[in-house]
Symmetry: C2
Subunit: 454 residues, 2 copies
Amino acid sequence: MSEIPYKIYLEENEMPTQWYNVRADMKKKPAPILHPGTLQPVTVDDLKPIFCEELAKQELDDVTPYIEIPEEIRNFYRMYRPSPLVRAYCLEEKLQTPAHIYYKFEGNNTSGSHKLNSAIAQAYYAKKQGLKGVTTETGAGQWGTALSMACSYFGLDCQVYMVKCSYEQKPFRREVMRTYGAQVTPSPSMNTNVGRKINAEFPGTTGSLGCAISEAVEAATTQEGYRYVLGSVLSQVLLHQSVIGLETSTALKKYGIKADTIIGCAGGGSNLGGLISPFVGEMLRGEANYEIIAVEPASCPSLTRGKYAYDFCDTGKVCPLAKMYTLGSAFIPSANHAGGLRYHGMSSIVSELYDQGLIKARSVEQTSVFEAATTFARVEGILPAPESSHAIKVAIDEALKCKETGEAKNIVFGLTGTGYFDMYAYQAYNDGTMTDYIPTDEELAKYMSSLPTV
Amino acid sequence: MSEIPYKIYLEENEMPTQWYNVRADMKKKPAPILHPGTLQPVTVDDLKPIFCEELAKQELDDVTPYIEIPEEIRNFYRMYRPSPLVRAYCLEEKLQTPAHIYYKFEGNNTSGSHKLNSAIAQAYYAKKQGLKGVTTETGAGQWGTALSMACSYFGLDCQVYMVKCSYEQKPFRREVMRTYGAQVTPSPSMNTNVGRKINAEFPGTTGSLGCAISEAVEAATTQEGYRYVLGSVLSQVLLHQSVIGLETSTALKKYGIKADTIIGCAGGGSNLGGLISPFVGEMLRGEANYEIIAVEPASCPSLTRGKYAYDFCDTGKVCPLAKMYTLGSAFIPSANHAGGLRYHGMSSIVSELYDQGLIKARSVEQTSVFEAATTFARVEGILPAPESSHAIKVAIDEALKCKETGEAKNIVFGLTGTGYFDMYAYQAYNDGTMTDYIPTDEELAKYMSSLPTV
């Protein structure tokens, strides 16, 4: 038994009391987000009709390094945080690697993922502003579940537009949200103008994330006392998710461990950005150096094959434009089972860090991801979410490289959640019917050729 | 913020190194289990063809108070234990009760319940004995999942006979087991004599737990190098589950908390017995006193309405007889959603403690249980298993009594697991279609009139 425990749990008094805003330490900041009408940088006033005022301020603040976590949010965090930093002794043994592998496990809460870290913050500011409720969209359902829990805690109404095919095919996620008191509406619905229009144009459509976003935004802006909230991509979300990286950093320091390689899966960038922020901060301030790897699905390769350009954040083109690595807002990812990683773009913070060469990116195919997930589950016990398993795949690859070189690297990865609601995906893998899909250069070029001219 | 944290986590060096065998401190021991053929007390030799030898010894040992937890098992425990003892601050606030409510949460592992505590022990002894694998049955699937994880860890073959209707209706549980490498067979199958016989007699049957047990026992005894394992009822299982109570007791002592009321759900008795063992030990040794409440479903009320008598442990009457509170081995509980509590009998240890007046019992109806579950989920975050929610219901009832009397009692209950694979049940509750069922006295009398004469 090593002196490093299987699970490093911080004491409650070691938990962060401030979020870290990595933008403050960036000399070259992420490009400003632009108003979709004027193409000028948005102001807090522009964002106020859609977002809570405090969240709009956080979205645009790229100078304040630390922002106080309100006590009410810290109290909620205490119900499921600190999350453990786990030493993967059994995985190391299985791989026979000299590397030391650690993972920050964010799945030990009913929402099953890290999404709760930002959901509770967004719900808090909505409540503080005196709102009645919030609206959002959800695809796979992790964000919707997290938001339902957060709203239930603060007594806020929660309206979730759930992509119709997910609503029908993932009844369990839907019921978790309903148990937390959320109104879950299959999208496109007859509640909104945009929903009615789409239903009329495409009878029998099973919906899309882009349509659900448009419905949620319309519902927020047409009901008194409602605002729209979003679970990834935005800089405010990465700010809240910095709690992951801050806890990881404190836990490593507590045991005198210096990470060499830090790995996270990346869809919109919420988990990756949160995990790496404090470490990138050290790099930006010249205090330390890390190898940071963002892992994305080969079927939706925004960092590894996209363009760094201004693009719309939503398919419906009603939201602001952000400069980011993007495959084009019309890009429809194939039905990869990692629903949480099927976004055409990437957080503007993560995009800028990647552009500056501070982080690397790698894309992996889904059957290899499920192979890694199964290996991990069998030795470490936890059944990982498909999204998280992208990070596992690369962590295993890196540990196997260490086996060849003999290096005892410290590899840290983010295990964002559990796969209990993704068993159809595991079934496809178990049955040997899972396939991979990599878009061709021609396909990608088609969508990227129509990026907006800014 | 009180000085008692939201979650009390023991350090790894505070975890138990020995299980506690409450039988050793009982002056009047549970009655011996009897051989189904001879009706004489069974010996280790009688049990060896079915159970691993070490487990057979543990089953019959009612004198050794502490039994060393082998290091290999303690290493596995470290992957998901210690489990937190949570102070339910938010539930207390919601109820406006002066009571202090604590729950020992056993659901933070992929099997989703406390079952893993015994599964890993049983798999370890099977491996140590040089066996190839083990067989078992599963209904709802918690035990099968836990055993699959444990066998995967030790590289043992795991054959699970899953009641056919569950196999078809709960594909997710099945896929978790398959991901851990288990062979999951719908029961009745064509693999065994008993399965073929039942399929021939009742074409199209969807199976029963009794039939699945019979198939698993046949499979264990007819394959070289296999033994049968069971997840509840047995005294060896309660021994392994004492890790729950031992951790709870240590955590309470660490913060100077004296429990007044201890509450657990009870089906076969594995969770309840494990949780209460160390506390009952204190009572038996005259060191302390506690109010202990076993909570069972009104649809399957073995303690509150059963007879204390010798009965068969299985419907097929091939297993030994135990003296226990029973509704008769032919009793078929109604389709209560808490699948883990639908057993006709009760652990002989729990039965004897109940008969001696050391514990109380209460039965509750399922709609009230889901009401309590929903209240709990909304404020405490965790979506509880239907089984665990029986304990929540009574904990809330007791906390509300404290509100009337003004007593600041310390209420401790066992939260055995999560409900992620029970969302059909939550859906029925959310839709308002859930019903209650209480068997009539006449129905119960019918089954209890045919108890074996010993």
